[in-house]
């Protein structure tokens, strides 16, 4: 990283801006704030940011729509701030291109972690995609469709491997149920989440040391699943 990452903070609530901006600056990010959607669009056109933190409850435009337009103009990751109970908005925003979300009231660490993950993806995108991923004692070899845990190969069905690979390639990001269903079973399956529940249960049984308390394949209630690369400190 030669220059600090630029983050656009879009929230109409002044106190949130006043509290978040110094926090993010202290972590070396370059912060620009916007109170409305139109302001955010302007900033993105003038000085594109590397990442956008977006509150879904903006005064001038529906949050999901803001998300869609930002995505149309820029590939910068979007982290959505939303209220608990606003699950449908959250999922819609994620399906329309948002990368992740945190629920208000969130802890500062939670937001910082999401920002780190999203930015890592931005700056790693230039590097050649790795043929394998190692997380803790788990090694996923994408090329050979093999998964090894503690030097012991785990036999996965092709669908199970697809699911694991899909989540692992977007490591630390949430993927919505809809997005996963579409990627693995095709567009006709998006309304049949039961496929996913069954497959996820099988996969967890094979991958997780304790399937009842998963540490790699984390469920985000009502939203989707996340493959976690730093399971130890969660």
């Amino acid at each position: 990283m030669t220059r600090p990452a630029r983050i656009l903070l879009v929230d109409d609530e002044v106190p949130i801006q006043r509290a978040l901006a110094p926090l993010l600056r202290s972590r070396g990010y370059d912060i620009e704030a916007a109170g409305t959607a139109s302001e955010a669009f302007e900033v993105m056109r003038a000085r594109p940011a590397d990442l956008i933190v977006l509150d879904l409850g903006l005064p001038d435009l529906d949050g999901v729509e803001v998300c869609r337009r930002l995505r149309a103009e820029s590939s910068a990751p979007i982290i959505v701030l939303s209220a608990r109970g606003g699950e449908s908005d959250k999922v819609a925003a994620l399906d329309l291109g948002a990368d992740d979300y945190v629920t208000k009231p969130f802890s500062p660490e939670e937001l910082l972690a999401r920002i780190r993950v999203a930015l890592r993806r931005v700056f790693a995108a230039d590097e050649a995609p790795a043929g394998r991923l190692q997380v803790g004692d788990l090694v996923i070899d994408y090329d050979r469709h093999r998964v090894v845990r503690q030097d012991e190969e785990i036999r996965l069905t092709p669908k199970e491997f697809d699911l694991l690979a899909l989540l692992a390639r977007s490591a630390d990001r949430v993927l919505t149920h809809r997005a996963i269903l579409k990627a693995i079973w095709g567009p006709n399956a998006v309304d049949q989440p039961e496929h996913l529940w069954v497959l996820m249960a099988q996969l967890r049984k094979k991958i997780e040391p304790d399937p009842a308390q998963p540490k790699y394949l984390i469920s985000e209630p009502w939203v989707g699943y996340r493959f976690v690369t730093e399971p130890a400190d969660v």
Partner: protein
């Protein structure tokens, strides 16, 4: 009409006798006619006219007189009641029979016509009543009102609608007589009713009619039926009403009662729905209004713990926390006040107070929101008012808060305190965007927020509704309007006694 009948009967009889005497004189003395056929036909004409315009009795009397006159003046030997030719006996009897039968027919026709008129009259009354019933909207009063309608439309001196409630009876009565029906009487009459529904073709009524004597009045009890089910009794006394009409009346009353119940049910369903709406509006509002300050406080507090913060930033972060805590406590205050207004837990506690005291108290409550706003106060009054200063000040605080939220920081907020004969009037005028036309009627609805305001100004939509609720406790009012030269003006009016400030110092 009842008292007029004997009179008209006597007059009719007189006229008939005079007419027969006249005809006799004309034919016998003047024209010197002695053809009994012409005389008989002329008498018959008079008898028919009598039967048509008067009663059967008059016509019969005229017939008898006609027979006598015919015999005396026109049948040989003239001048005596003896009849020489036996054929004339036959003629005389035929004349009598024809005139009596014709009188009868004519009288029956008249009776039918009268009956039809009466029926039409009752139908018209029923129709009027049904219109009354359909126009009734307030269901609480509906049944008592129904009894009054029945009594008025049918000119009955006593009408009561009696509905069973367990062993007791709810009696809604109307009319001048004011008879007292006992539960025993009603229960006894009602006991036989529930058995079944049979139509009595001869009386043209359904079964179950009862008649009881009460204080020298005959009270008729008719079951109120919905379909075959009896739901109560209709009692009527005074003018006689056809049993069939009473049945129709009871049917209409039963429908009206059922309608009143439906209106009641619909109203309570509406109330339940509105309270559901309120709850979800409250939750949505709280969801947003709690989460934002909580997030800001959480982040700012953890910033304060961090070592990287400069002193200037530290002050900034603690300011964020204080402001947001203030916002939260105001929110809780609002919720609490709203709950009190809803629960009816507020009571006016009146005392003598100077209006400026109320303004000070109100200002104190919203000092954070008012920060940086200029308050221009116009209060040249030296009169005291007697009201609840606590409620009035809280209501005023909401108006001030509202004005501050919709005014640019530089613009003044004008407060005017006036004491007049009605009581205390306080107006708060801002220089904000004013009130949208579509918002005006719903301004004081709970959780209602102006169409524009929703986007630009943070708020819960509780303030004005609380202000109204609090003022209502002391019979006060509040209203909002746009000023001709821009901005909105909200005015509070609290009815109160007033007196001069000096007078109070003496007392």
């Amino acid at each position: 009409m009842v008292s007029g009948r004997p009179w008209s009967s006597v007059v009719g009889l007189g006229l008939a006798l005079v007419a027969i005497a006249g005809v006799t004189a004309t034919l016998h003395l003047w024209l010197r006619l002695n053809n009994p056929t012409i005389a008989a036909l002329t008498y018959l004409l008079i008898i028919l006219i009598a039967a048509t315009v008067s009663t059967l009795r008059v016509a019969t009397a005229a017939s008898v007189l006609g027979v006598l006159c015919l015999n005396f003046f026109f049948m040989p030997p003239v001048g005596t009641f003896t009849i020489a030719d036996p054929q004339n006996w036959v003629a005389l009897f035929v004349f009598l029979a024809v005139s009596v039968v014709a009188s009868n027919l004519s009288s029956v026709a008249r009776e039918r016509a009268r009956e039809a008129m009466a029926r039409r009259d009752e139908l018209a009354r029923l129709f009027d009543l049904s219109r009354d019933v359909l126009l009734t909207t307030d269901s609480r009063e509906a049944i008592g009102q129904l009894a009054r309608f029945v009594s008025r439309r049918f000119a009955l001196d006593f009408v009561a609608i009696c509905l069973p409630r367990g062993d007791e009876w709810d009696v809604f009565d109307a009319g001048a007589l004011g008879l007292q029906l006992t539960s025993d009487q009603l229960s006894k009459a009602f006991a036989g009713v529930d058995g079944g529904l049979e139509f009595d073709a001869r009386a043209r009524t359904y079964a179950g009619h009862r008649e009881i004597a009460l204080d020298d009045h005959r009270v008729r009890l008719v079951p109120l039926r919905l379909g075959a089910r009896a739901i109560g009794l209709l009692a009527a006394a005074g003018r006689p009403v056809e049993p069939g009409t009473l049945d129709a009346l009871a049917g209409l009353a039963a429908i009206a009662i059922e309608r009143a119940h439906f209106l009641d049910e619909r109203k309570s369903a509406e109330v339940a729905r509105r309270s559901e709406e309120l709850k979800s509006a409250l939750l949505a509002s709280l969801g947003h209004d709690l989460r934002t300050p909580l997030t800001a406080i959480r982040v700012a507090a953890s910033n304060l713990q961090a070592s990287w913060l400069a002193d200037v930033d530290r002050r900034e972060q603690s300011d964020v926390i204080l402001t947001e805590v203030e916002r939260l406590s105001r929110l809780f205050q609002n919720i609490l006040e709203m709950a009190r207004v809803d629960a009816g837990a507020l009571a006016a506690d009146v005392r003598w107070v100077h209006p400026s005291e109320i303004l000070e108290a109100a200002r104190d409550q919203v000092v954070h929101t008012l920060a940086g706003r200029r308050l221009e106060v116009d209060a040249a009054q030296e009169r005291l008012v007697r009201l609840d200063p606590r409620l009035t000040a809280s209501a005023l605080a909401h108006l001030l808060e509202n004005a501050a939220q919709y005014t640019a920081p530089g613009a003044p907020i004008e407060v005017k305190l006036t004491v007049n004969a009605e009581g205390l009037m306080i107006s708060v005028r801002d220089h904000g965007p004013g009130i949208g036309a579509e918002d005006l009627p719903r301004l004081f609805d709970r959780f209602y927020r102006g169409q524009d305001a929703r986007a630009r100004v943070s708020g819960t939509g509780m303030g004005l509704s609380i202000a109204r609720g609090m003022l209502a406790v002391e019979r006060g009012r509040v209203w909002g309007e746009n000023c001709p030269d821009g901005g909105a003006r909200f005015t509070i009016l609290v009815p109160a006694e007033t007196k001069d400030a000096e007078a109070s110092q003496v007392g």
